[in-house]
């Protein structure tokens, strides 16, 4: 979230799209409700009428996978009616920049941006014109036909109400009502916000869905202000923290880039990722990249080696190779992966195309399942219909501690790092994940010490001072405060900076003081300032609100440097420094200092500095050449669609996605059924309040299982009538990849869509279920039986094995199925 949970209460208009926040983020509705009580409007855009929709002032249905069409229409509406926040757009975005005249857009180029070869874009034309001094050529009047603003206008001119409605199935009057209501927030002093989740991201155009909404937020001047922002509701309490600390393959902690094999030296690596700019007044914060790299390497390897040596120890990935979930499971399916740690996950239910995932696990030599309970992943070899004697995979279950059985921090969607304390000891042999890792590290290190091996030093020289070693030199009890302090970082030598002397061994007070010469350490530069000589900032529990707008700056700590609203420099007039919204100011100049939230910089008003400090030019990107699939979002149909043709262009699907299907690379398991009469119904997946993710933790909980005991499918009365299905009857749902039995909930909360004059039906299934807690499975001696059984398996048995062009997140929210009454 650019903003934070409490801040939702400040909003004049909340758009919830790609999320059912009322069900899946129930606490968020405390603040949504407060906003509504203050007169704020709530808009729900969803294929299904949800618990969120039940509270909305406006509900607009759309066919799954057509968000860009919907939002593109809103961009057109805003531009046509000149509802933009002009000063914001001119000063804080790249709308004024002139683009390479050779750049071509889908409307004039068969649905493609210029430069496509195969499934990759050559981005040479996605560039800006430059002046002789290297700065970008601009037109502040935004009238030049090549300026970003005019290109945006031209691109979205195609997204008429008529066309959008034909694609999305949303009635035109509903589109207009949503557009008009939301665009009201373009007035200075008004704030609109977006709450989104997997309904935006789990598409082949997921990143572009978010981009489309971000462009709207920039046009309306809604980023950096209270009650505004672009707010991703993370699906798990600490998923923000795990991302910050580099859970994903392409990053190191603090969003530093993963080094590639071709970057042989630290200097080459830093050069590749340290941006430069000729723009005057731009802070270009990533210019500090080498300081963060050096500090990270010190945290990893200490002072015992040079920074270059330490860099040499880092694992490198092959340039251009993707190591995301889909790739891993495809390789596993093809027998190219020997061992797998399924750590804190339930791959057999959570991954797309579960039959492929489950079969892939059978091609492993070994698997370690680290979890609270046995699950569908750890027991895949004895799933119903599986013959254990045919599976050679050796499976180990390492029981781990739950969040209340250990001390440490979590970072929520608000980027808020909160310290938690241990309430009870873990049961039996269960250990905190960190202690399992520590044990694993110790044993691997000893093996390397004894037997040697390639790059043994990468392991043997790791700095690992997280507690007292036992007689074997292993640290079995972790001191989590040591880890938290290492993440913050230390001065490793005495240093004097701006006349202040920092002693060796003291904690670095802020990332502004991290150094590139190896004299500081920091396990994650973004978290430098979280644990200082003043103490553990995440443990702060002062709920007093000095700001009056709910910043609660003395409660816990948020990155970066306790800033609660990102890009808050954009909340004030660039010349006078006066807040756009004087009733809800985020930062205010008191004559000598900015007060309120931690500002993006300390210079006084009118200094010319641009607020989007993480961008080299200091401006937000309405034109975004960084993505794989285009500088502007363009509507493409989902990988599996009910339509023969894309209504808006000749290009059917996102041209930049990687494909595994038969037409793509020829694997039968990854088949695709698009515009196929055998699978004519659009299907989406969702979560319930009562169950969490694959239900691994909640299905064992009797009170929760009592409320939601069984997988179901929501079907419109019209479709139910066609298929002869009564409410409460069992239905078999089939996609080309798998099938699932579910109870029918026949409900007017799903309506048939009119798509380009034809009726298209959509259904939805929760993906919280799995076979391990069902009554009919076999329980061996010693297996725990749940107190209450749940019925049904994972909705991911149906989902396609295809991902977003940028992130590779699977397209679980729009695919094609058919349904029949069970046994019919």
């Amino acid at each position: 979230m650019t903003n934070h949970w409490n801040d939702l209460a400040n909003s004049d208009c909340i758009l919830i799209m790609g999320s059912n926040a009322a069900s899946n983020h129930p606490i968020s509705f405390k603040y949504v409700t407060m906003a509504r009580e203050r007169g704020g409007k709530l808009i729900s855009v969803d294929p299904r009428f949800t618990q969120t929709s039940s509270k909305a002032d406006i509900y607009a249905p759309l066919r799954s996978g057509t968000d860009i069409a919907f939002l593109g229409g809103m961009i057109k509406y805003i531009l046509d009616h000149n509802l933009i926040h002009t000063s914001y757009v001119q000063n804080y975005t790249n709308a004024t920049y002139l683009v390479n005249p050779a750049f071509r857009m889908p409307g004039e180029n068969n649905g493609l941006f210029s430069g496509l070869t195969g499934n990759k874009y050559d981005k040479a034309t996605w560039s800006f014109q430059t002046e002789a001094d290297g700065t970008a050529r601009k037109d502040l009047s935004m009238k030049d036909p090549n300026c970003v603003y005019q290109l945006l206008k031209k691109h979205y001119a195609r997204y008429t109400l008529e066309t959008v409605s034909r694609i999305t199935g949303t009635p035109k009057d509903k589109l207009e009502e949503v557009y008009r209501t939301y665009a009201e927030t373009g007035k200075p002093g008004k704030a609109g916000t977006i709450m989104y989740a997997m309904g935006y991201t789990q598409h082949t155009v997921g990143t572009q869905n978010i981009r489309a909404m971000s462009i709207i937020q920039l046009l309306l001047g809604n980023i950096g202000v209270a009650g505004g922002g672009v707010n991703a509701l993370r699906g798990e309490a600490n998923v923000q923290g795990s991302t910050d600390h580099a859970l994903l393959f392409h990053i190191l902690p603090g969003y530093l880039k993963m080094p590639t094999a071709s970057q042989e030296t630290l200097a080459a690596y830093n050069t590749a990722f340290t941006p430069t700019t000729k723009e005057p007044d731009s802070l270009n914060w990533w210019k500090n990249y080498p300081k963060y790299t050096a500090s990270l390497l010190r945290a990893y390897y200490g002072m015992g080696c040079t920074l270059d040596e330490a860099y040499g120890y880092l694992p490198k990935i092959d340039g251009g190779v993707n190591y995301s979930w889909l790739t891993i499971f495809d390789k596993m399916y093809k027998g190219k992966i020997e061992g797998f740690f399924a750590w804190g996950q339930n791959a057999a239910c959570s991954g797309a195309s579960s039959n492929k995932t489950r079969n892939a696990l059978g091609n492993l030599e070994w698997m370690v399942n680290v979890n609270l309970f046995d699950n569908e992943t750890g027991s895949f070899w004895r799933a119903p219909g599986t013959d254990p004697s045919k599976i050679k995979t050796e499976v180990f279950l390492l029981p781990c501690a739950s969040s209340i059985e250990k001390e440490g921090s979590i970072t929520n969607s608000s980027r808020l790092m909160q310290w938690r304390y241990k309430a009870v000891d873990p049961p039996g042999e269960a250990k905190p994940d960190g202690e399992i890792i520590s044990e694993l590290y110790c044993r691997i290190r000893k093996l390397y010490e004894k037997e040697g091996g390639p790059f043994a030093e990468a392991i043997t020289r790791l700095s690992w001072n997280y507690g007292m070693p036992d007689g074997n030199g292993c640290i079995r009890k972790l001191d989590v405060h040591r880890i938290a302090r290492e993440i913050n970082g230390y001065f490793l030598e005495d240093r004097t900076i701006d006349n202040v002397t920092y002693k060796k061994g003291t904690l670095v007070p802020s990332f502004a003081l991290l150094q590139d010469d190896g004299s500081t350490s920091s396990g994650n530069w973004l978290y430098c300032n979280s644990y200082t000589e003043k103490g553990n900032m995440a443990a702060r529990r002062n709920n007093h609100d000095r700001s009056g707008i709910g910043l609660h700056s003395d409660w816990a700590w948020s990155w970066p440097v306790n800033r609660r609203i990102l890009y808050n420099g954009a909340s004030v007039d660039p010349k006078t420094g006066r807040p756009w919204d004087t009733k809800r100011p985020v930062i205010v100049w008191d004559g000598s200092n900015w007060v309120g939230d931690v500002p993006d910089g300390v210079a006084p008003p009118g200094n010319g500095r641009k607020p989007f400090i993480m961008k080299p030019n200091g401006l937000a990107s309405i034109f975004g050449p960084g993505l794989a699939d285009g500088p502007f979002p363009e509507h493409y149909e989902p990988f599996e669609s009910p339509l023969q043709k894309n209504i808006i262009s000749p290009q059917m699907i996102n041209p930049a996605i990687k494909r595994w299907d038969r037409e793509g690379t020829g694997t039968a398991v990854d088949s695709r059924a698009t515009a196929d009469n055998n699978f004519p119904i659009v299907c989406t997946t969702f979560r319930l309040t009562e169950h969490w993710q694959t239900g691994l933790m909640t299905r064992w909980q009797p009170w929760l299982a009592e409320m939601q005991p069984e997988v179901f499918i929501e079907i419109s009365p019209e479709l139910a009538k066609i298929k002869g299905i009564q409410n409460g009857e069992m239905v078999t749902v089939k996609s080309i990849r798998g099938s699932l039995d579910a109870v029918a909930i026949v409900t007017r909360r799903f309506r048939p869509f009119s798509i380009d004059g034809k009726i298209v039906h959509e259904v939805g299934i929760p993906w919280n279920f799995g076979w391990a807690t069902t009554k009919l499975r076999q329980y061996a001696q010693g297996d725990k039986k749940p107190d209450l059984f749940t019925t049904g398996d994972s909705a991911n048995l149906l989902t396609p094995f295809i991902g977003d062009a940028n992130t590779m997140i699977p397209e679980s929210k729009a695919f094609m199925v058919n349904i029949t009454k069970k046994g019919a």
Partner: protein, 263 residues
């Protein structure tokens, strides 16, 4: 002591069921094996082990529209509590907070309260031969805490406090909603100790009586004839006969409240 009442504001309820679960947790009520019957509502209805339930109703609205209504069903803690009137053992009683509590030790399983309650709240368990219902978390009230359901509600749909304060907050909210909210509970059975602000007219909610009242038989028997019996010994028999004439044999009329289908 000022009477304590609970307010359920349906316009703020998202149907998350934190209240339903918190009730089970605080009162240590077990879960029972259920199945999906084509509805989110589960268990299907109140029971000896489910004292608070979110009811889900779907209502058609316009050509393509639908409304999804959620109602927190639990004891209404009536001012004129029929269950207390008919309870011959004193198991059901009014507390100092004005709530209706239940002392299971005294319950003899006569089920008079089950028949008498206009809201279908008390639940008889044949295995223990006792009746169970929401007691507004008396053990919490005695310790200065709000009921567990109120504590757990994330949106503020449930509130608890002094009658005057809650009543005026409720009236203010209904005024603010300007036709979008219906106050329910202030105009019958002497006023209920749980007030509703409904999002739609009461008739659109399942299992919710639009004009609940203390059954006439209960009034005749308990308020007129019973005091009379203390004066004239022969009156007891006469009164018992009259009771039978007015009311007939004891039948639990669950079905009369369950006419509408749930969604």
């Amino acid at each position: 002591m000022a009477r304590k009442i609970k307010l359920f504001d349906a316009t703020k309820c998202t149907g998350c069921r934190a209240c339903q679960l918190a009730c089970k947790q605080w009162n240590n009520l077990p879960a029972k094996q259920t199945e999906n019957r084509g509805s989110y509502q589960n268990p299907e209805k109140l029971s000896p082990t489910t004292w608070a339930l979110i009811r889900f109703d779907e209502v058609d609205s316009g050509v393509n529209g639908v409304k999804w209504l959620f109602r927190h069903e639990a004891c209404m803690h009536c001012t004129d509590a029929a269950c207390v009137k008919v309870c011959s053992t004193g198991a059901l009683y009014k507390t100092e907070y004005g709530t209706v509590a239940l002392d299971s030790g005294k319950c003899n399983g006569c089920k008079e309260c089950v028949s008498a309650c206009p809201f279908g709240i008390p639940q008889y368990d044949p295995s223990t031969q006792k009746v169970y219902k929401c007691d507004m978390c008396l053990s919490r009230l005695d310790n200065g805490l709000e009921p567990a359901c109120v504590k757990a509600c994330p949106t503020g749909a449930l509130r608890f406090g002094d009658e005057d304060e809650i009543m005026s907050a409720a009236r203010e909210r209904v005024a603010e909603l300007d036709g979008g909210g219906y106050l329910y509970g202030d105009k019958f059975v002497g006023g209920t100790g749980m007030l509703y602000i409904l999002q739609e007219k009461p008739t659109l909610y399942s299992h919710l009586p639009t004009a609940p009242s203390v059954p006439t038989s209960v009034i005749v028997w308990k308020d007129w004839l019973k005091p009379l019996s203390l004066i004239a010994p022969g009156g007891v028999l006469a009164a018992a006969f009259l009771h039978y004439l007015i009311k007939g044999p004891k039948v639990v009329e669950e079905s009369s409240l369950d006419k509408k289908g749930d969604a």
